[in-house]
Symmetry: C2
Subunit: 234 residues, 2 copies
């Protein structure tokens, strides 16, 4: 199996393909290196190829009528781009320009070939749909945990900022003592621009770790030091 | 067009379907309400249906051998779940249990029907692949911006924590004065567990907003107040 075949096999678009189809694709593909700021294709070019990034990052940018470029997306290592155009019924043109953001290694793949393989095999189409559905759920999950992560970080940062206001003497005892904050949850949510349901999940996640305690409508800080550690370890 | 048809049309799985197919699907579907903590299906049940959440949130959980439940994913309003099983070649069983996290309105859809539609029409399969590819890129983009957002928030929070150490007198002048921090970028990156490239993008995004300035290897804080405002507005 060639180098290209084994690289592509890692990606959800190719992982369910037969070895025979993969070899066919690899034979017509091309791996090449780019320096920083090299163009890969321009907006409006006929879309005959799609790309897999072996290493580096690529920006996809759209030009506005006044000639300004706006970066639409940054594609990273192990991701593909311009593959959506394969699934279009008619011939397509790239809606964006692609350019390397740093030194890159890229595999260029032929749209036509993948289109033929999908046309010939309902099984392959279904397998790709399955992989994409799994990937979509994984990404939704990642977004969920990033949102929660951000919310917890903000909440901890906010709570730490509140302490001195309630305890003017910042002696050593305060580092570990219980501090009951007189702030209702809905006030915190609106102050931190966090959705109430996200704040609730964030509070219960922090209280499961023993970092805070809920006492009616109020938040009790068990240990200032461990909250500060949370901030620097997350 | 029925209520269900017009709701489903918003989702990428159905948006490219013909009205005829959508009506066929809607006729065999069922919309119902759930209270908080009601079961939708159990792990191991035969997977005959998939679900669209009109309102509310649903948890997907897996039981471990010792009987403990672990939440794998939280599905939100306007999302579908258990649809990946449709694309499997053989009959499938749910790998998770689904339960309402709050009051929900849900549409239950028949796997068999969608499978038949995909079998009959290569065009529909391609259209769904296109929508999924577009959705995947949008999610990758969202993850990218959440990561950057989190990085900027951490960086600002970190920078604010550094100020008193460098300026013992915390008088009013310091609120607006330039403070040159003697910390190299690579130290900040490792301290905040942010990838160096994410930190670089975050620094340039904050400096574009005029919140910080880069002076060689060091970061200059232009205005403490505006940094604090950033923390509470983001």
């Amino acid at each position: 199996m060639s180098n290209i075949t084994s690289i592509l096999k890692q990606h959800y678009l190719f992982s369910s393909m037969s070895d025979e189809d993969l070899v066919k694709i690899a034979e017509k593909s091309e791996m090449f290196d780019l320096k920083k700021q090299e163009s890969i294709f321009f907006q409006g070019d006929e879309a005959n190829n799609f790309y897999y990034i072996v290493d580096g990052q690529v920006s996809l940018a759209r030009s506005s009528p006044n000639g300004q470029e706006k970066i639409i997306e940054i594609i990273k290592k192990n991701e593909i781009f311009a593959e959506a155009l394969i699934f279009m019924p008619q011939k397509a043109h790239y809606p964006v320009s692609a350019c390397s953001l740093e030194k890159c290694t890229i595999i260029k793949l032929k749209n036509k070939l993948l289109k033929e393989i999908l046309n010939d095999s309902h099984k392959t189409s279904m397998a790709i749909l399955l992989n994409m559905a799994i990937k979509l759920h994984a990404l939704l999950d990642e977004i969920d945990s990033l949102t929660l992560h951000g919310a917890s970080y903000r909440l901890v940062s906010f709570l730490l900022h509140q302490i001195p206001k309630n305890n003017i003497k910042n002696n050593k005892e305060n580092e570990t003592a219980n501090i009951k904050l007189d702030i209702a949850k809905n006030i915190i949510a609106s102050r931190l621009s966090i959705k109430p349901e996200t704040l609730s999940r964030s509070i219960s996640s922090l209280s499961k770790r023993g970092l805070i305690k809920i006492d009616g409508k109020h938040i009790v800080i068990n240990n200032k030091k461990s909250l500060q550690e949370y901030l620097f370890n997350n």
